[in-house]
Amino acid sequence: MPVHDWSRRGFLGAGCALGLLPSRALGSATQSWSNAVLVMPDGSTLNGGLRIRDGRIEAVGPEVTGGEDLGGAWIVPGFTDAGCRLGLVEVGMEKSTHDMSAGENQALDARVIDGFNPRSQLLPVARVNGITTILLNPASDGMIPGQAALMRTVGERLGEAIIEAPAGLCMNLGRAASGNDGPNSRIGVMRAWRQFFDEHKKPEGKKKSKGGKSKENEGEGAAVVAKQLRDGEMLALIRANRADDIERALGLVAEYELRAALVGCIEGHLLADAIAEANVPVILGPLDAQPSNFQHPHAKYENAALLHAAGVKLSFRSGDAHGVRKLPTLAGLAVAHGLPWSAAIQALTVNPMDLFGQPLMGRLSEGAEATFFVVEGDPLQPRHAVTSVYVQGKSTSMQTRHTRLFDQFKELW
């Protein structure tokens, strides 16, 4: 957990981080399910049951009996989309519904939670498909789009939805960094990155760096974020897709000793060994990236399988808003192209939670948060419907904009 700066985090973030705000009312009764297929933290499956109490898992495994008989349905820890824009946009082409970025090339102190609408109609659509947790990131234009946040896909108040904010700083290499009036080439982008890090160099010894304001367009908040970044308190979420951009990203991570994850990484398979050697985790996606343009001409379906085989720790991101629900199917596609099923499951559950410092989330294990869903079978098969979703032990609504429209028109009138 980063050392928080109270004055700058604001009451919401601080309250949440320290549990001062009442969070969702936790389910208090003991509840159990049996005769299920359990998806375990190592990505294996096990026949058995689950018992929860006060929003936490009390027991999981073959020894748990009684309660609701699931008749062979599966219990799966809630999936994480480790990079999406849920709640930042309602209608794609309607700009009036967009709150996706601060609109500046370097927006160090921009907080994505300030654009998040917990009542967005897109959130339930993701949740009823098993996605209970998201890394919310600003739109990817610019060198520094801003601060990401770890969120739940439940709740009508911001305080219920936020797990951790900030959860990392979104940074771009490649042409995406040119957005919002940035340098118009990779040459300019890398020059700007070196300038940025040199201006925010670690002070030598205990000497305080002079002149807090290094750039005119940065307030004090930006200087604080830069300090957190260089001290490793803030996770650097570095988006790079073309192989040479990934190499440059690894170079920045090594030179400035950043605590980092690579985001996107569409051509990662070309550098799988180097990424594994640098021990930098990857938030991969979109998983169906194509060799469709000059920014990632070597995209291929086997990317996830090859990175995993090299020893890289993977999480998955959709990069989407309306299409977040496609993520499990896309993970299945990675399996079809060689990724072990267990690795795909871990990339949707324990891996992102470990990356974001949440060891009691994303897993069916004793003491972990009771956030999970029940599904007809293998959750990566598109044909299997999710039948219920529990968050912190509490059953959540399966109603969405889509089910309401279906109910309205299933009989014509």
Partner: protein
């Protein structure tokens, strides 16, 4: 005996039999351990105990699933070829709201690498459409995904002509700032009405002996539409736009073949069936614009239940590679397994008017085949091989080797 001898003598090097697979004819129930015989580019026989003629190659596909080649009725491959680049935008002739005279075939980049990726997904026939900037965007190109240096090598010979029309948000957005519009939905339909009327007036004027107006390629194509010589595919999302298109087309006696995208088709599925049209839609796209905000994943199953043909289309050089997965997504929203396969084979063939040639495994049809490693509605299955007109055009096992097809 004589018959067998003749068959042996008549066997072409290209003839073959696929045995051992679970055959999914689509037009009839699955056949476990079935046999499909291909002769001279056509399906010669499909069945459980079909004797394999002597002298022809036999392919053992035990454990695999054989289905008809997949058909995508809404593609922009070739007209927006990879790599996407400003110089590659050849899909919208957005110079006027009515460009009936333009033909997608004239834009198709025959070497678009996306074609090869679609073949790898078991796709054998596509309809390339102009974009939706215009009310009448131009004629479509129906192609077989044969590896070819030439457009003529890709043409689906004998396929009916098709034309792309569009209503709703796109045309009014593209032309909304033009003095002549259209700026509104009512402007869209008024513009179409005027164009059809102008075509009829043009015919009348051309028939007179004096003051004949010069030929007009736009109006000539619209007359072909009015005469029923061209199948009409209308990009249309909202339910009241669908109703409006039928209202307009009924005025001129034009049959609409398909409503494309059709995200609110479920609200007026009875009207679609009554008109005799079908829909082409996605399994799960929604919300990308206002007229897509009421899109629901139950749409395909609901429209199918009303009796109209339903195609799952891609409108994407990406998703075209996995139309079987898209079809699988409809299962949990009420579609049967049999109907889900129809959405990517026989129903798209019906929308294009080529159902006598392709879309199912039946004797006499083109030998367009897709062999999957498992059931095609299973996420873990991959297309292993693709044949078009009996020619092997893709083999997964050869990918990345010098033997791979260009």
């Amino acid at each position: 005996m004589i018959v067998v001898l003749m068959l042996t003598l008549g066997a072409l090097a290209s003839d073959f039999a696929i045995v051992g697979a679970t055959v999914l004819p689509v037009s009839s129930p699955p056949i476990e351990n079935g046999t499909v015989i291909v002769r001279n580019g056509k399906i010669a026989a499909v069945g459980l105990a079909v004797p394999v003629p002597e002298g022809i190659e036999t392919i053992d596909a035990s454990g695999q699933f054989l289905m008809p080649g997949i058909i995508d009725v809404h593609s922009h491959m070739g007209v927006y070829p990879w790599p996407s680049a400003s110089a590659h935008g050849d899909g919208n002739e957005a110079t006027a709201p009515i460009t009936a005279r333009v033909q997608a075939a004239d834009s198709v980049h025959v070497s678009d690498p996306a074609f090869e990726r679609a073949r790898a997904g078991g796709v054998t026939t596509i309809q390339v459409l102009p974009g939706s900037a215009n009310l009448v965007g131009g004629e479509s190109a129906i192609l077989k995904l044969r590896p070819s240096r030439t457009l003529s090598g890709m043409r689906f010979e004998g396929a009916p002509r098709g034309i792309k029309m569009a209503c709703g948000e796109n045309p009014k957005r593209v032309y909304g700032s033009d003095i002549d519009g259209p700026q509104t939905r009512m402007g869209n339909l008024a513009y179409m009405r005027s164009a059809f009327q102008a075509a009829l007036d043009h015919r009348e004027a051309r028939a007179s002996h004096r003051d004949k107006p010069p030929r007009d390629a736009n109006l000539a194509t619209l007359l072909d539409v009015l005469d029923g010589k061209v199948r009409v595919h209308v990009h249309c999302y909202r339910h009241d736009d669908i109703e409006g298109i039928f209202r307009l087309m009924d005025e001129f006696g034009v049959q609409v073949a398909s409503i494309q995208h059709a995200l609110e088709a479920y609200k007026v599925r009875d009207l679609i069936h009554e008109h005799g049209a079908g829909i082409a839609t996605w399994a799960d796209w929604w919300g990308f614009k206002m007229e897509a905000f009421d899109g629901i994943p139950h749409n395909a199953a609901l429209v199918k239940s009303a009796g109209a043909p339903v195609a799952i289309h891609s409108d994407s050089s990406n998703e075209v590679q996995r139309l079987n997965v898209q079809a699988a997504k409809t299962l949990r929203y009420g579609m049967s397994e049999a109907d889900a396969l129809v959405t990517i084979t026989l129903d798209p063939a019906r929308l294009l008017g080529i159902e006598q040639r392709v879309g199912s495994l039946e004797a006499g049809k083109d030998a367009d085949l897709a062999l999957f490693t498992g059931h095609p509605l299973d996420i873990y299955s991959l297309n292993a091989a693709t044949w078009i007109d009996g020619e092997l055009v893709y083999e997964r096992s050869k990918e990345g080797t010098p033997d791979a097809r260009p």
